[in-house]
Symmetry: C2
Subunit: 193 residues, 2 copies
């Protein structure tokens, strides 16, 4: 693909447990580049010698944004995104949290840019997170809701509302794979010749 | 249907031009009850002898919520919703704007309750609103975006992010009708015997 596609950024958003990681994995199979904004936070946690659980990640995410502005994580990721766009024409930026990040990337990167959100109902996401059972995944409904509200307090709801594309991931894993493939096929049809 | 369905509220949300009105019209055809939260604001505008354009509506919506709390519009609509639930088992509450309204209705109404959002991309919604051309619909991209941001400032993004169901209205009107019918058929299958 590389040489025949227009440069394009897919800004990926979604609530916890919606299916962003599966989307990102699939994107890799398609040969797209991936930059994870979560990695930026993770590296900051490592610098500070903190345990990499979702509580510490959220608290760093909030502190960085409070101290340096709401678009700070996108600013810290800019170099990485530009490098990735030199290798891959189509790059996924995983983990967009607010519209200020979107605006920053729009203003600073010369590429097509669309917001893609993955959606699943709270009930479905809760079930998935409990089944996934990572050490820092919520164990009960209340801590699940609290994490949702923390994510929303960053501005994630606004990004989802203004998505260019929403992929609804309410069915089986197989159905979700199919929806992602349909979407990537459309992407390639639109941006590549 | 009336007697054989469980009491249920469908809380309807969506950005301007997403297709909420079409959903509400279709719900009427199905014999569901409709309560429009916009009507509450409209009646307040009439009381104050104001022109019924979106600018005045938005300014009343904001003022009411600032003065009386974020759930005020749901509180003002409660009696109407309860009356409607006496006539129709399934009632649509059109125009939910924040999670406080959702919480208020959840706590004060003994019925099943789901959030349904209609989504279309900003590009598609802009095109539709320009084509619709109501006197107070945005004429250019900037005023369209400003109206979007006003809606988001009320908390609408959070409601959309926490939807139980998102119906994506990106295709033709006919396709949208089909999606709504599929959804209502599922609703009836779930709540009615």
């Amino acid at each position: 693909m590389g040489n025949t596609c227009r440069k394009a950024l897919i800004l990926l958003a979604g609530m916890p447990g919606s299916g962003k990681s599966i989307f990102a994995l699939k994107a890799k199979e398609y040969g797209f580049g991936i930059v994870s904004l979560g990695d930026i936070i993770r590296e900051e946690a490592i610098k500070r010698k903190l345990v990499l659980d979702s509580k510490n990640m959220m608290s760093i995410a909030k502190e960085l944004r409070r101290t340096y502005g709401k678009d700070i994580v996108a600013r810290l990721a800019l170099k990485r995104i530009l490098e990735m766009l030199n290798i891959h024409s189509i790059v996924i930026v995983d983990g967009i949290r607010n519209l200020e990040e979107v605006e920053f990337l729009k203003s600073n990167i010369d590429a097509e840019l669309i917001i893609v959100s993955i959606h699943a109902s709270p009930k479905t996401r809760f079930k998935r997170l409990v089944e996934r059972g990572r050490s820092d995944d919520p164990k009960d409904w209340e801590s699940f809701l609290n994490r949702d509200y923390e994510e929303l307090s960053l501005g994630l709801g606004n990004v989802i509302a203004l998505s260019d594309v929403i992929i609804v991931n309410e069915g089986s894993l197989q159905e979700f794979h199919q929806l992602i493939e349909n979407f990537f096929d459309r992407v390639i049809k639109t941006w590549c010749t």
